[in-house]
């Protein structure tokens, strides 16, 4: 491995969270982004080729060294580390709405879910999965929420574009008859024959 790749490995090993490209550049201002990408590719190949127990994963707009899933059960059984928090159905519903509509206010979240969501929003904010990004220009200037990098980390996503596109979702309702033309059209992906 190149010296820079070894430095990269040491940095990723030392960090308890994914490191982004601009954070890596602090390590060695001489190196360009392309050189870091080359080092990342080399390290990834190295873990793949030599059969390591860990792998290099692109997650939350950065890179992190993670254990391979096949060892999950053994590591968990040994209780070397704590499992990340598990989110309730209500919390995931709110996260789903925010992930697709961000920045979005509480009223829209509640309109889509059909239930009040203030408590869940507060909880998600405390957990650092969502954050307030501003205020709407609407009446009362309500707070607007967006997802955080921790949200991506929790789901193991590199960025928001990893979320399924809405037209890829199979709306699992029996939809036999689209509405007559001229009427309000259903959401995308819903008007299957």
């Amino acid at each position: 491995m190149e010296q820079r790749t070894r430095l990269l490995e040491a940095a990723l090993f030392s960090a308890p969270r994914p490191l982004a490209l601009d954070e890596l550049s602090v390590l060695d201002p001489e190196a360009s982004d392309d050189e870091w990408k080359k080092a990342l590719a080399e390290l990834k190949d190295h873990y793949e080729a030599d059969g390591h127990g860990v792998e290099l994963v692109e997650i939350a707009s950065g890179w992190q060294i993670l254990t391979r899933p096949i060892f999950a059960e053994a590591i968990e059984r040994a209780a070397f580390t704590s499992r990340p928090l598990k989110l309730s159905g209500a919390a995931l519903e709110v996260l789903a709405v925010i992930a697709y509509r961000q920045p979005v206010g509480r009223a829209e979240v509640e309109e889509i879910r059909g239930v009040s969501s203030g408590g869940v929003l507060r909880l998600l904010q405390e957990r650092g999965l969502i954050e307030v990004t501003g205020r709407s220009e609407g009446l009362g200037r309500p707070l607007l929420y967006a997802t955080t990098p921790l949200f991506l980390e929790h789901l193991g996503l590199a960025d928001l574009s990893d979320l399924p596109r809405t037209e890829e979702l199979a709306v699992a309702l029996r939809v036999s008859q689209p509405p007559p033309p001229g009427e309000e059209s259903p959401p995308e992906g819903a008007a299957a024959p």
Binding site: P69, E93, H154, G156, P179, E184, A190
Partner: protein, 249 residues
């Protein structure tokens, strides 16, 4: 069956014999989707009267404090049912099926449910891979809303007060000046001697009151011309003499 179980369990249709726990649903839209799936009906042609009846039956035993959102949906369903029963006017073109707004919301919600399923799977896959070292512990939940009785509040205030050092209190005593007495004494002294010094007015241990009384009396007598106050230079002793009005007084 206990009362609390009865509150959350209900029988959708006794002849079908299935019981649904309302707690399983995240809201009225979830319950509605469940009913539609159960009945295997076409989302674009919901038999609204039947679904509304089932919905009402489902929420009949809800406790009031959790019912608001379900009741709102029930009202919406009944309004749609009524709109469908009303005879339509001639122009069919302008008529919009009152169910469509509901269908739009149902589909939107269904989409969110699918995303939730996807996210759950993603989170499960992520949880199978461990990063190095510790995961930062989740921040502590906020304390529950403060509930205190007035007695506890008073006791707390008393504890705080007990920590304060003893307050320093000053008692202010009225010490009226004896200006009349001082005036009389000054005039008595001037009757005996033509000039006086400031020290002659005061006794061996003058109090603040004595000093002030004599000062005010001197100034007043000087104003009335009964005596004059003279000082040779700054900070030299004060010389008190009979004034121009003294003889006539």
């Amino acid at each position: 069956m206990t009362a609390s179980e009865r509150a959350s369990d209900f029988s959708l249709a006794d002849d079908l014999g299935f019981v649904v726990q309302l707690e399983r649903f995240s809201g009225p839209l979830d319950l509605l989707l469940h009913l539609i799936r159960k009945e295997e009906i076409d989302i674009w042609d919901i038999p609204i009267a039947r679904i509304a009846d089932q919905f009402l039956q489902a929420i009949a035993q809800l406790q009031l404090n959790e019912a608001a959102e379900y009741l709102e949906m029930a009202a919406r369903l009944l309004r749609i049912k009524a709109q469908l029963l009303l005879p339509r006017r001639g122009d069919e073109e302008a008529w919009e099926d009152p169910r469509h707004e509901l269908v739009r919301r149902l589909l939107e919600y269904q989409q969110i449910r699918e995303v939730v399923d996807w996210m759950e799977r993603a989170a499960r896959r992520r949880a199978e891979r461990f990063g190095r070292g510790w995961l930062p512990p989740a921040p502590e939940a906020p304390p529950p809303p403060l509930v205190v009785s007035i007695e506890e509040l008073v006791a707390a205030v008393e504890r705080v007060l007990a920590m304060l050092p003893d307050p320093v209190l000053y008692r202010i005593l009225p010490r009226p000046l004896d200006i009349e007495g001082a005036t009389r004494r000054i005039l008595d002294l001037l009757a005996e001697r033509e000039t006086l010094g400031w020290r002659d007015l005061l006794g061996p241990r003058p109090t603040v009151g004595d000093v002030l009384s004599n000062l005010v009396a001197l100034l007043e007598l000087a104003r009335r011309g009964l005596l004059t106050l003279r000082q040779g230079a700054a900070f030299t002793p004060l010389v008190i003499e009979r004034g121009t009005a003294y003889e006539t007084a």
